[in-house]
Amino acid sequence: MTKLNINKREYQLDLKGHETLLEVLRDNLGLTGTKTACEESECGTCTVVMEGKAVLSCITLAANCVGKEITTIEGLADGEQLHPVQQAFIDHGAVQCGFCIPGMIMSAKALLDKNPEPTLEEIQYGLDGNLCRCACYLKIFDAIRDAGEKMKTLKGS
């Protein structure tokens, strides 16, 4: 049995060994919030946060995630209270079709946890791996800046 720590919960899984983290999340655990658009590390849609870093779950072997703290889009809100990044995406209209949004939000969270006051350039580089075909990018930049400020205030209080 493989033990994975996902969204602060321990899951016991009977893995064959070759499953990607994406497959485990979606197919074994029903955590379908994490999407994929290419399955070959080109789109960023499958991004989750592992040990504080944004990683692509489509090219991450689940077996290599043992003992690591994994957060998916389902684990971001605190009860019914949305994470500041989630709330900022709604407030700034940074959502169109929404398919890229879980991955986009997880990349943004990883970026802001390290750097709550990113410049526009830092945001653009931080999200370079996340494609959005609706091209909501400008509103996403606004949302991330706003979320960074809120996170800083929350930390300070």
Partner: protein, 783 residues
């Protein structure tokens, strides 16, 4: 007690129209709870895979599926033998001869990827292995991949059409030959706009289930037009319409690619039947997505026009050749739109353009956001700048002289009522400080350019009518349910329609729950295309909300013995409009409706079909839309002469959208369109290899706009308050990407004096053009 049954709703969003209220589905999306067809799963669900042709053109001699059927884990295999072999298409109403595709081809395959069978198995591995065990014998036929080759006599014949021309569209008005002769200046240009791909992030995906004993089919789909999908499924499966239910899930982007039933939708249902009714899920991988869904037409656009010295456009003539790929799909209407949009923009008396929609052995071209207008916009708006320059006129003044006006009928009988085009141009050039910049930043290799565009709000090109229906149900607890057939594909139509319903009903937006795009539950709607939903489905929703409101007011009037014509509901209160007094709260009025002796359920209905005249494709005449939208766009660029790279410094888009129902959402549509326009201008080009397959069919090689490189965009809303629109609104969502390529081409010309006529503008093309310009200049100096 009725009072205790009522819920408490936030009053935060009363009078929601014109406000940027949060998306109705926002919390679901940002938490990953929203369910896409991609996420649909059932116990015992099978995985389906399509059997695709490896040859671009071949006759099917035989198919042996026996080995695949025997493979453990395989539950169903289908070929054309299992089907009724009925063809489907998207322009059945106007162009019946273009209904040319079978869900599972029986005799011939016409491009690499063409479907000739499908399998369903317990998992993907088994399904793929089963595909490899199917033995198909082909007679290979010669293939043709280039439109100009395909049109030559003697070229391989892909369908039964002369020279592979599926559709010829001649559009003729006035006497263009005479007008060209009488013009002071005439020029001809040839433009190339390449194939591209919608590349929605959510792939095409569906789950089909055939309930064997009740003979009922359900498809959970990622669809822009669930009712249209139902129609095609019923037709090809030979079922009654009401035996087929299409449930549109959240859609992860469509952009035109999810307007039609695809063979995989058909196959999922039929496989399910053969597998005893187990649900079957089929999901395209990214390679299949580029290969075998829909793509944008590549176009060759020849345009020849004459102008008078005073800047009056004398005549426009030309020819459009559209690369259709293997089947017709939406080709005829895309071609029509590529030719006829110009009538909404410019006052023209003499016009002749002929369009050819040509088959090739390449992936199927359909309707991508802009419906042919992107390719046309690039050609026409570049050409207009060249005409203006030739007679020494500023491109803005040239346009202002020739553009259409409010309350006019165009030469092809389009009725333009509100028309904010002039205001759009004026606002855009004011905002970008046009006259300070145009022609004055060459020393910095900087330039500024303009392009304009117009769009329809629905087109009545799918069937005889363009109607939408809505139901507004007001429950005893005060909650309001909106049922609309419209398909929210991410553009936010559920939000905009809910705002319209709340505004008309006089209640807070937070009361509204919206159910959309389920063919068994919601009223009919033709779907999300032609920028029609806010205008057409919005009107239907407005009427349904008004009907519900009148039902409530009738009870109040009866109870208080007042005249219903003196009553209205505004900001959650029933008011007497005569003396402006508040009679009761909305909740109280509902309590009354559902009280002991009334017990009246409030169910409002609305149906809307715009007043238009059908288009006659033999002449190009017809008022296709109930309203028309307009815009002007300006781009400012800086060209790096060493590297050939272009930096887009800023874009301005002034847009006549009638009225912004949700300004934030409208801005999102404009920003997204412009970014997509930038993609088509600088990087997107779906190339084909020597078998007609996409040569760059993945995100590593088919580059789409990213966060890096997204320039600042200024959106300017021009609100012309259309008398036919819901609260004055028009549709939007497509127009904004029509002029982007031309605005940039015109800006590059202003910056460094090169004229680019072939998209995309890659650095190598720019460097080549700069070198050619240098050579010409040095030659003329030498002479």
């Amino acid at each position: 007690m009725a009072a205790s049954a009522q819920k408490t709703f936030s009053k935060e969003y009363v009078d929601p129209v014109g406000k940027s209220v949060p998306r109705i589905d926002g919390r679901g999306i940002v938490t990953g709870q929203t369910k896409y067809a991609f996420d649909v799963s059932f116990p015992n669900m099978l995985v389906g895979k399509m059997l695709r042709s490896p040859h671009p053109h071949a006759r099917i001699i035989s198919i042996d599926t026996s080995k695949a059927e025997k493979l453990p884990g395989v539950r169903a295999v289908i070929t054309a033998r299992d089907t009724h072999q009925i063809k489907f298409g998207s322009n059945e109403y106007f162009f019946p001869h273009t209904v040319d595709q079978m869900a599972i081809e029986a005799e011939k395959v016409r491009y690499v990827g063409d479907e000739l069978g499908a399998v369903a198995a317990v998992d993907e591995e088994t399904a793929l292995e089963a595909l490899s065990l199917i033995d198909v014998q082909y007679e290979i036929l010669p293939a043709v991949f280039d439109v100009r080759e395909a049109m030559k006599p003697g070229a391989p014949q892909i369908h039964e059409s002369l020279n592979n021309i599926a559709v010829i569209l001649p559009v003729n008005f006035g006497n263009p030959d005479r007008a060209l002769k009488e013009a002071d200046y005439v020029r001809e240009d040839l433009f190339f706009a390449p194939a591209a791909h919608m590349a929605a992030l959510e792939p095409h995906v569906c789950v089909g289930q055939w309930e064997i004993f009740s003979n009922k089919v359900t498809l959970w789909a990622s669809s822009q037009a669930p009712f249209k999908c139902r129609e095609a499924l019923a037709k090809t499966l030979k079922l009654d319409l009401n035996d087929v239910r299409v449930i549109k899930m959240a859609v992860g982007g469509g952009f035109g690619g999810k307007l039609e039933m695809l063979p995989m939708d058909f196959a999922a249902c039929l496989l399910s039947r053969k597998a005893g009714g187990l649900p079957v899920k089929i999901c395209c991988n990214r390679e299949e997505e580029f290969l075998a869904t829909r793509r944008k037409h590549g176009m060759i656009y020849k345009i020849k026009s004459g102008v008078k010295k005073d800047g009056t456009l004398a005549a426009i003539t030309g020819e459009v050749i559209a690369d259709g790929g293997a089947y017709c799909s939406y080709g005829p209407t895309v071609l029509a739109a590529a030719i006829m949009r110009i009538f909404m923009l410019y006052k023209i008396q003499h016009f002749r353009m002929t369009g050819y929609r040509v088959y090739t052995n390449t992936p199927i071209s359909g309707a991508m956001r802009g419906f042919g207008g992107v390719q046309a916009g690039f050609a026409i708006e570049s050409h207009m700048d060249m005409l203006a320059e030739a007679i020494g006129m500023d491109p803005v003044e040239f346009r202002l002289k020739n553009i259409t006006t409010p309350n006019m009928v165009t030469i092809n009988k389009m009725v333009l009522t509100t028309n904010g085009l002039k205001e759009c141009i004026e606002k855009a050039i004011e905002s970008c400080r046009w006259y300070e910049k145009r022609g004055k930043q060459k020393h910095l290799c900087r330039g500024i350019g303009i392009g304009i565009a117009a769009d329809v709000m629905g087109s009545k090109m799918y069937k005889s009518h363009e109607s939408a229906g809505s139901i507004v149900k007001v429950e005893e607890d005060g909650s309001v349910y909106l049922f609309t057939g419209a398909a929210d594909t991410g553009q936010g139509s559920n939000t905009a329609l809910s705002q319209i319903a709340a505004q008309e009903l006089g209640v807070s937006y937070s009361r509204i729950r919206c159910k959309s795009g389920d063919t068994e539950i919601t009223p009919f709607d033709t779907g999300s295309f032609a920028s029609r939903v806010t205008f057409i489905s919005g009107n239907a929703t407005l009427l349904a909300a008004r009907d519900a409101k009148n039902q409530i007011l009738a009870i109040v009037a009866e109870d208080l013995e007042l005249d219903i014509d003196d009553l209205d509901i505004k900001t959650e209160e029933v008011i007497n409009t005569k003396n402006k007094s508040v009679l009761m709260s909305f909740d109280k009025a509902l309590e009354l409706c559902y009280a002991f002796h009334y017990g009246k359920q409030i169910i409002g209905r609305g149906s809307y079909n715009p007043k238009t005249t059908p288009i006659d494709f033999r002449t190009g005449e017809g008022n296709v839309s109930g309203s028309y939208g307009f815009e002007a766009q300006v781009a400012e660029v800086e060209v790096n002469k060493e590297t050939g790279e272009v930096d887009v410094l800023k874009l301005w888009d002034a847009h006549d959208i009638g009225k912004a129902i949700n300004p934030q959402s409208a801005e999102g549509q404009i920003e997204g369109s412009l970014a997509m326009g930038l993609g088509y201008t600088f990087m997107e080009n779906l190339r084909f290899d020597n078998k007609g397959r996409p040569a760059n069919g993945n995100f590593a090689n088919y580059r789409i706009p990213r966060s890096i490189g997204t320039p600042p965009i200024e959106c300017i809303m021009v609100e012309t308050n259309d008398p036919n629109g819901p609260f004055g609104a028009k549709g939007m969502g497509e127009a904004a990407l029509l002029p982007t390529s031309a605005a940039i081409a015109n800006a590059i010309y202003d910056a460094v004096g090169i004229r680019l006529k072939e998209l995309p503008f890659t650095p190598d093309k720019i460097i080549k053009a700069l070198k050619e310009k240098e050579q010409i200049e040095s030659l003329s100096k030498g002479a």
